[in-house]
């Protein structure tokens, strides 16, 4: 049963994190507070319903879903930054015309 709550928790976690980020992005731009709040309501509502339906025991599974989503983001970001800074992430350059090298 915990697996199901975990699997349901993943898209909810994605939506909630995205909604919070969208809220931050929008609230920074003056005059867009209403816009930002509208985008926040549905994901938070969905999260509330999820927590209400789940038992406190399964809240750990939902928290795990949040942790996995966040951890994955951190992993991807750090890998990309390390690769870019070490210059190990780059495309090749191929010249078919060698006459003017």
């Amino acid at each position: 049963m915990g697996v199901i709550w975990f699997l349901v928790g993943i898209p909810i976690a994605v939506e909630v994190i995205a909604a919070l980020l969208r809220f931050r992005d929008c609230i920074r731009t003056s005059g867009l507070r209403v816009y930002a709040i509208e985008g926040l309501i549905f994901p938070l509502f969905a999260l509330g319903v999820l927590l209400w339906l789940a038992s406190p025991v399964h809240w750990i599974a939902i928290a795990g879903a949040f942790a996995v989503v966040l951890a994955w983001q951190v992993l991807v970001h750090v890998s990309l930054q390390v690769a870019l800074r070490r210059n190990s992430f780059h495309s090749r350059v191929i010249d078919t015309d060698q006459s003017l090298q």
Binding site: L21, R28, Q73, H77, V93, T96
Partner: protein
């Protein structure tokens, strides 16, 4: 001692005394070719000067240390030699103190049939009498440069160099060029190739200008084909300021004008054939035209033949999102910067971006047909559904989960955003420009890749742009839904239903240019100034004109929003409108003429589409669903265009840093010519700045890279390597492409290869282009239809054409070889076909590398 000889007497003196070039010029003079007069400073003078300077070791092959070379450069020239040079000069100048001459090297082993030394030794133009001795010594020393010594070794010349110098009347050339009496690429043995440019030919030989090319039959010397280049620069006539740029801009109205008419081509071809007959082998002939008179400057055997291209390993497919914005190759610096932020699955092949097909195929589940995958990667509608076996399900699930975890938050973040959030990108770019500690590669990386976890979306325009591509999927879905539930609802109404909202950057840019035209039209004097088609002078004229105030103010407002845009804006070497507004003026002039008023019909088209939907889809629920999906499509289409508006600012930011560096390096003498920096790699620029390299170390590299870049520009980019990409040339009468915006139209073909150079289009013409990027958009307003050689449904051409309701055909390969300027075309964009209504038998299409 024989210090000097008249050029006319050079041939009998022999190559050891006067050098190969002088011998050949002497032979040509003896045969009454029109060669500018001159005299030769012999190799005996060279030897004498080196011995007197205490550098005789250099004559015996000793390593040319900086001390030895400095000693030669600083040694006072023998008075007898100086006297002989001045006497020779007086015989040319008739005592005119303003007389200018060219000082050209003539190596003793130069211009043989196997070692041309082309570009290896120095030549100095516009030299005055006072500078003669210095320039002659400079020519001598050019035999000892790193590049010249490397060339000698490569050619198996192990003896020490001997150098004569030709002092010749400096022709104030109106037009110059090079003629190869046989195609040096070996592709067209029956053709001569003539290349020409405005002014001196040095710009052409150095690869600094894209020349006109004329292909002339060797048999009857008839013109087989011609390709008019965009000659943006020419050698400056005043080269006395050594710190300045050696190039000057060609007035815009001359850039796309053919340098030679048919009579000139015939004269030049005849001259070249005379040279070939005189020497008995294929010749590489340099010539110039002054006041209508044709002069011969040099004739030497064709020594360099393009090598057979090295085969590319692996299978590669063009990266279409970039190709459809510009099919020209990137300059070496752009390649070097971009490769640092692009995936290892990508490669720049001959300056163009490709994706590793094998890697993509390995990643995806097996079972996807090769043809389907190629079409998908080329952003074409595969046409068939993708069959998938159950065995592929686990791999597919793994890919889906990974993709979801990696990108779902981004996709959700961009699902519903106000446009203003992306204004943050401008502030970020300005901050990065202001940070002097950031170099261009780091700046580019910080602008294109997320620099911190969950950075504000306004700073992630590239990621947001990619996420907006989902409207293609929604469009496919809605098309299928309507085909099933409302079969009578046609493609044109569908396009009108899904065009973006009014707040799209591309649409606003068009409207802003139309407003600029309207402001200009209010003042007849300003309108006349713009329509005079002297756009190079226009900025200066506007500054002093009493009526220009409103237009200049409107222009400043426009530049503050769109000044970072321009032609080929992905290319970091390409100037932006803020730097060079002449293309913008051309577009305004275009709109000051006849216009179609197309912007105003968009809302009417959408209303008509809604009416048609009501008629063909009576169910209110289904209609509401269609409108819901259409709204989403409109939102994502706008998001894609609006984020695309900001990408060029990233490239403009990196360009600003590079230009700042270039200015500094020009002042310090580390660079000699504007734009050369774009033909260096970043590590080389760092080495130049740090003093680890000097200009003479990189000069030859720059020259070679420029020439190679020009050659690549002339080649049509292959869509794939070791793949069948279905890009066969089009037929003579009917061209097949793909629909990007439905509709039908008929009109005269207006071929535009470069909106910066030829930006005029009459109302009702069919715009024919190799590709389009946003800088082409204002041209769309007058076009009856658009046909592009490289594009896709998602491309800029397709998106904006749908916005404006213009029929648009994309992916019409071979288009520019098949269609003539002014030819009448019937475009059926719905079917993706272009009919050539008055086809004329066109000569076999020629390509030249």
């Amino acid at each position: 001692m024989n210090w000097t000889l008249p050029l006319r007497d050079a041939a009998p003196a022999g190559q050891a005394l006067v050098g190969g070039k002088a011998v050949r010029l002497g032979e040509l003079l003896a045969q009454d070719f029109d060669v500018p007069p001159g005299f030769v400073v012999t190799t005996e003078a060279f030897v004498s000067h080196f011995m007197e300077a205490g550098a005789s070791g250099l004559l015996d092959g000793e390593y040319p240390t900086p001390e030895l070379l400095t000693r030669v450069a600083n040694h006072q020239m023998n008075p007898e030699l100086v006297s002989a040079i001045r006497t020779g000069f007086a015989s040319l100048s008739d005592g005119d103190p303003q007389y200018l001459c060219a000082v050209r090297s003539s190596g003793a082993d130069e211009d043989g049939t196997w070692a041309s030394f082309a570009g290896q030794h120095a030549t100095y133009y516009y030299t005055r009498e006072d500078d003669l001795e210095t320039r002659i010594v400079d020519c001598w020393l050019s035999a000892f440069t790193l590049e010249a010594r490397a060339y000698r070794r490569e050619m198996g010349l192990f003896s020490a160099p001997r150098m004569a110098v030709i002092v010749q009347y400096m022709l104030p050339a109106d037009i110059s060029g090079v003629t190869f009496t046989r195609d040096p690429t070996g592709q067209h043995d029956d053709c001569m190739v003539i290349e020409s440019c405005w002014g001196l030919g040095a710009a052409l030989v150095d690869g600094r200008v894209s020349p006109d090319a004329y292909f002339v039959s060797r048999g009857d010397q008839s013109l087989r084909a011609r390709r008019i280049g965009t000659k943006r620069a020419k050698v400056a006539e005043a080269l006395l300021d050594r710190s300045g740029s050696r190039l000057e801009a060609v007035p815009r109205h001359l850039q796309r004008v053919p340098t030679l008419d048919s009579a000139d081509v015939a004269r030049v071809a005849a001259l070249a054939m005379r040279c070939e007959l005189a020497f008995g082998t294929a010749q590489d002939v340099e010539w110039a035209i002054v006041d209508g008179r044709l002069y011969l400057l040099q004739s030497r055997p064709v020594t360099r033949v393009a090598s057979v291209p090295t085969p590319v390993e692996g299978r590669w497919i063009a990266f279409k999102p970039v190709l459809e914005n510009s099919d020209e190759p990137f300059t070496p610096l752009s390649v070097d910067l971009f490769r640092r932020v692009l995936s290892p699955w990508m490669a720049f092949i001959d300056g163009r971006l490709y994706v590793d097909y094998d890697a993509v195929e390995r990643l995806l589940p097996s079972g996807i047909p090769k043809r389907t995958l190629i079409d998908a990667l080329l952003l074409r509608d595969p046409g068939t559904s993708i069959g998938m076996s159950w065995r592929a399900a686990p791999k597919l699930a793994l890919i889906a989960i990974t993709a979801y975890l990696s990108s779902a938050i981004l996709f959700a973040r961009t699902r519903n955003l106000p446009r203003a959030v992306f204004d943050a990108f401008r502030a970020r770019c300005e901050a990065l420009v202001a940070d002097a500690n950031l170099d261009p590669p780091t700046t580019l990386r910080m602008l294109l890749a997320p620099h911190r976890l969950f950075a504000p979306i306004g700073e992630l325009v590239l990621a947001a742009n990619v996420s907006a591509g989902r409207y293609f999927i929604l469009t496919g879905f809605l098309t299928g839904f309507l085909e099933r539930h409302a079969p009578g609802f046609d493609a044109e109404h569908f396009a009108a239903l899904t065009v973006g909202p009014k707040e799209m950057a591309s649409r606003e840019m068009v409207e802003s240019i139309a407003q600029l035209a309207a402001v200009a039209a209010e003042k007849p004097a300003i309108k006349a100034l713009i329509l005079a088609n002297r756009f190079d002078e226009l900025p200066h004229q506007l500054v002093v004109h009493p009526d220009a105030g409103p237009f200049v103010s409107a222009l400043e407002v426009f530049m503050s929003r769109f000044g970072h845009r321009g032609t080929r804006e992905i290319e970091i070497a390409a100037p932006r409108w803020r730097e060079d507004p002449t293309p913008l003026f051309a577009m305004i002039a275009n709109l000051l003429g006849e216009t179609t008023g197309r912007i105003n019909v968009i809302e009417a088209r959408r209303a008509a589409a809604q009416a048609a939907l009501l008629e063909h889809l009576p169910s209110r629920v289904k209609r509401a669903f269609v409108n819901l999906v259409a709204r989403r499509i409109r939102y994502f289409a706008a998001l894609r265009e609006n984020t695309r508006h900001w990408h060029p600012l990233a490239f403009a930011t990196v360009r600003a840093k590079i230009l700042s560096l270039e200015r500094h390096m020009m002042v310090t003498g580390e660079l000699k010519c504007a734009d050369d920096i774009f033909y260096l790699l970043w590590d080389e620029i760092e080495d130049l700045s740090a003093g680890r390299l000097s200009w003479r170390h990189v000069e030859e590299r720059v020259r070679n890279r420029r020439i190679r870049h020009l050659r690549r520009c002339r080649l049509r980019p292959p869509l794939g390597f070791n793949l069948e990409t279905d890009d066969a040339p089009a037929g003579h009468v009917r061209l097949l492409g793909r629909c990007a915006s439905p509709g039908r139209a008929e009109g005269r073909a207006r071929i535009i290869r470069d909106p910066a150079a030829d930006g005029e289009i009459r109302a009702g013409d069919v715009l024919v282009a190799p590709y389009t990027d946003p800088s082409w958009t204002p041209l769309f307003l007058n076009a009856a239809a658009i046909v592009v050689e490289t594009g896709s449904y998602l491309s800029h051409a397709g998106t904006v054409a749908r916005e404006l309701g213009i029929p648009c055909v994309v992916d019409a390969y071979g288009l520019l070889d098949g269609v003539e300027e002014g030819q009448r075309l019937q475009v059926d964009a719905t079917a993706g076909t272009v009919l050539l209504l008055d086809p004329e038998p066109k000569q076999a299409a020629l390509t030249w590398a």
